[in-house]
């Protein structure tokens, strides 16, 4: 069963402030059907970088065997990615982890809340949710106007609200500012972003069932090294912990301690 592939870069473009969009192609794409899963990307030549980088799936075009990822250049790995040009190969392990459990979700009112590079997986999620006849509202938070991406893509699928820290675009402030006015009769919510944001969101949305996607530094990315654990809220849980790479990155909002 295929679990890894040298995928080929089709496109790699500057999308927003320090943010890039890359399209990769390969048959591995056929496995990428669950929104919320991530790809574990090899960086550099040979063993020059000993750890892979987890990056979420932003979108998949099964027909053309293309997967889109969006990443922010924050260090050596993502800046290496930003320098790859069409035709180059990147070794991909994945898709890894469990995505958002949406198989049964249809005809519901849903709220999608993303912050920064937490936005990418929510695009594929929103696409699937809309395909499944749900009504989605999206709140997308960014630092500043120049960092905003995929506004139009979301708008085609969902009622979309942009929030920026500095107010240079959309609402000024935090994504949680908008929640009171939008959560009305929402059935579920889905969120991905910085831990502080997830914390605020899940507090704000205490009474609505929701799913959040977490980030943690990873070793193996496949559940073998115990690098990426978090504790369960339930102290009587048999294991008391979850592995983000394998049990997550998506969890029920009240399953793990943020």
């Amino acid at each position: 069963m295929i679990k890894e592939q040298w995928m080929t870069v089709v496109k790699n473009r500057h999308l927003a402030l320090d943010t890039y969009e890359m399209i990769l192609t390969g048959e591995l794409t056929e496995k990428m059907i669950n929104p919320g899963q991530f790809l574990h990307l090899k960086i550099g030549e040979g063993f020059s970088h000993m750890l892979r980088r987890p990056i979420s799936i932003t979108n998949v075009d099964i027909d053309h065997q293309e997967v889109t990822i969006i990443y922010k250049t924050i260090g050596s790995g993502t800046s290496w990615l930003s320098k790859q040009t069409p035709g180059e190969k990147i070794h991909v392990l994945g898709p890894r982890g469990n995505g958002f459990p949406i198989e049964q979700v249809t005809n519901k009112k849903l709220l999608v809340i993303g912050g920064g590079v937490g936005v990418p997986p929510l695009y594929y999620l929103t696409k699937k949710l809309v395909e499944q006849q749900n009504e989605v509202t999206a709140i997308l938070g960014f630092q500043t106007k120049d960092a905003v991406f995929y506004e139009d893509n979301f708008k085609k699928l969902a009622k979309t609200f942009i929030v920026t820290d500095d107010g240079t675009k959309g609402e000024k402030g935090r994504v949680t500012n908008l929640i009171p006015s939008l959560q009305g009769d929402v059935d579920y919510y889905y969120s991905c972003g910085p831990t502080a944001m997830l914390h605020a969101v899940s507090n704000e949305m205490k009474h609505v069932p929701g799913y959040i996607s977490l980030e943690e530094r990873m070793g193996c990315g496949i559940g073998a090294c115990f690098a990426c654990v978090c504790k369960t809220v339930d102290e009587t849980d048999e294991k008391g912990y979850r592995k983000i790479c394998m049990d997550g990155p998506v969890f029920q909002s009240n399953e793990v301690i943020l």
Partner: protein, 304 residues
């Protein structure tokens, strides 16, 4: 035909390649990638007496040609390992080595007693890099007397051969090896990680929640080779060598330096198929360098 089988106390290995402790969990995750029966052996994650959650996250950090980890011996505890993890490995045709952790001699002894009783376990790897809580945090792995003492006590209760895993964070690795040899160790496993740190420039503090972590990967290979070579001059025990192996050439280097078999740790994270690939390529590579078998190669770089 190049013979890559190796025979060590308690371990009849089809080949000298095994995943290193802590880098392969209890095998289950990697069994999705390839047939574990291909491996020479499997070394499972450290077992302690009680279950441990380990350290806070972040627990890993990448460094140049290496990584730091401060997992903190997370494991479900020896009894649960025996009841819930080992049965999965039984059907595979591969010897299982249990890494044994602890914070006191009593804990090491109790874990060794219980896990060595499991018929699935063929040998123990005594991880003496854990801090000794009673002696105020000194590592068993840096004091020859403590190391000898814990080895001796574990040997008394273990029904399986005991390989002592040496820490590289010492002034005199040969003294450590000799100490555990005379305490009755059946073999050595070396090296564990070098203690290191890295800092988060934005947060202005150590990157790992635990502050320090263990450095592994190609960065430490020269240190591992040196220590194995030095120990091999003075100690006859079989050595399972490790530290930065990523290729057949690396395996041959470790064999030349004096190792009898090798373990592969960090490289599994970059390439989950690495052990399988090295096993497949090893016969041809040995031949290419003029060796007829693993045993023909082992220690060839030591006799001078």
């Amino acid at each position: 035909m190049t013979n890559i089988a190796v025979s060590l106390p308690g371990l009849e290995l089809k080949n000298p390649i095994m995943p290193a402790s802590g880098c392969f969990g209890f095998g289950k995750e990697f069994s999705e990638f390839y047939d574990l029966s291909k491996l020479g052996a499997i070394v499972i994650k450290a077992a302690t007496l009680e279950g441990r959650y380990g350290n806070d996250t972040p627990r890993v950090a990448e460094t140049s040609a290496g990584m730091l980890n401060a997992i903190g011996l997370q494991n479900p505890g020896v009894d649960k390992i025996i009841s819930s993890e080992l049965p999965f490995l039984e059907p595979f045709n591969v010897p299982v080595i249990s890494n044994v952790g602890g914070s006191s001699v009593e804990e090491y002894v109790e874990v060794a007693k219980r896990i060595s009783a499991s018929p699935i376990i063929r040998a123990l790897e005594l991880n003496i890099s854990c801090p000794n809580v009673k002696e105020g945090g000194i590592q068993f792995g840096t004091d020859p007397n403590l190391a000898a003492h814990v080895t001796e006590q574990v040997k008394k209760v273990s029904t399986k051969p005991v390989y002592v895993k040496l820490s590289p964070n010492v002034s005199d690795i040969v003294a450590m090896a000799k100490a555990v040899e005379s305490a009755g160790a059946d073999g050595l496993s070396m090296i564990n990680t070098l203690t290191g740190m890295s800092f988060d420039l934005h947060k202005r503090k150590p990157l790992l929640a635990n502050k320090t972590g263990g450095l592994s990967g190609p960065a430490i290979k020269p240190v591992a080779l040196r220590m194995i070579y030095q120990v091999r001059q003075e100690v006859d025990l079989p050595i399972i060598g490790m530290g930065g192996i990523t290729s057949c050439e690396d395996v041959i280097e470790f064999l030349l330096a004096g190792a009898n078999a090798v373990a592969i740790g960090t490289a599994n994270f970059l390439d989950p198929y690495i052990c399988e690939k090295i096993i497949d390529d090893l016969p041809a590579k040995l031949q290419q360098y003029g060796f007829t078998s693993v045993e023909d190669c082992s220690q060839k770089g030591v006799a001078l």
